[in-house]
């Protein structure tokens, strides 16, 4: 096995491992959506405000998952370690 092959293999494992971070935002966003639906059914007249706040909160809590996605994309398509050889 060449050194380059080893780097690509380890990067593929790393890209997969990076996406484990999707667990956290998944739980967080679904919790936020669940609470927002709760609030919407209890106070239907303020559902617009609830949904807007929910979107902002969901976007912020989602960003950790997106960062891990970017790390995975970097490892797969723009591998920085091959240049170090």
């Amino acid at each position: 096995m060449t050194a380059e092959g080893l780097i690509y293999a380890c990067s593929a494992i790393g890209a997969g491992a990076a996406m484990i971070a999707g667990i956290g935002p998944g739980i967080g966003v679904s919790y936020a959506v669940g609470s927002a639906v709760d609030a919407c059914t209890r106070y239907p007249e303020s559902s617009g405000d609830c949904l807007r706040t929910m979107f902002i909160g969901a976007a912020i809590s989602e960003s950790m998952g997106v960062f891990s996605l970017i790390v995975a994309l970097l490892l797969m398509f723009a591998n920085p370690f091959v240049d170090l050889l």
């Binding site: 807007r52 960003s63 960062f67 970017i70 994309l73």
Partner: protein, 248 residues
């Protein structure tokens, strides 16, 4: 029957291609810039078309649509920033329309401008400048630097990091969503091609090869990643800009 070889088309994921180079100064004009110009021209044409022959009482459908767009953006800004920040309404409208249309161009086969990290980082830098400007206006020159040492001077580095992290995380959120959708769509296309050739469902008609499973299934993904994610992320970028810029 000979075992048909499963053909895996190479995964076609790349950065923006260089369309042409300006001779002399050697500037490389990428796909992102060219598609951005197309979107700008489209928005300009739309604005000119919608605002021709404005009357005091709207008589044409065009003017009703234009007034609806303007008043909905004004409402959004008033709800999120308060009525003393109404001067930001044109900026927010520009951001939201450019981001939404720039993501939606992938529906007609062009490359989304927001799938390039340069675009989103530029917008993040613009937001950072606006946030800093509004903080200077609200706190004064010394008060701005003093606000970094609140509540205790020890956490100044953390405050600086969180100040820089706001625009960077906004930029990477937009970029990651759109680029991630692009990558996932590419991977699914490749997998469907492999699956249809494994099931003997791919035909070749002349130079074109038709994979039966590729018909219809990617459209569902396209609705989610291009339409839904593009519009929602444009809205979220604009909302976060408004929330961060408004100092109260």
């Amino acid at each position: 029957m000979p075992i048909q070889q499963i053909s895996t088309a190479a995964l076609d994921i790349h950065g923006p291609k260089i369309v042409f180079t300006i001779p002399g100064i050697n500037w490389k004009i990428t796909e992102t810039v060219v598609v951005g110009w197309i979107v700008i021209a489209f928005i300009l044409a739309l604005c000119i078309f919608l605002t021709r022959n404005l009357k005091k009482t709207p008589s044409t459908k065009r003017q009703v649509i234009a007034e609806y767009i303007v008043s909905s953006v004004n409402n959004l800004v008033k709800q999120n920033m308060g009525s003393k920040y109404m001067r930001y309404a044109p900026y927010i409208a520009t951001l939201i329309s450019y981001a939404a249309l720039g993501s939606l161009v992938s529906l007609i086969g062009l490359r989304s401008i927001t799938a390039d990290v340069n675009t989103t980082l530029t917008w993040g830098a613009m937001t950072f400048i606006l946030i800093t400007y509004e903080k200077f206006r609200a706190n004064g020159f010394l008060g701005y630097f003093k606000s970094y040492t609140q509540p205790v001077p020890v956490i100044t580095p953390i405050n600086i990091i969180s100040e820089v992290a706001t625009p960077v995380s906004m930029a990477f959120r937009l970029f990651g969503n759109i680029a991630g959708g692009m990558v996932i769509t590419g991977i699914i296309y490749m997998a469907l091609a492999a699956a249809s050739s494994a099931l003997h469902l791919s035909f070749a008609i002349g130079p074109f090869s038709i994979n039966v499973l590729q018909v219809g299934i990617p459209a569902v993904l396209s609705v989610y990643f291009d339409l839904f994610a593009g519009c929602i992320q444009a809205y979220i970028f604009a909302t976060l800009t408004m929330v961060n810029v408004a100092q109260d």
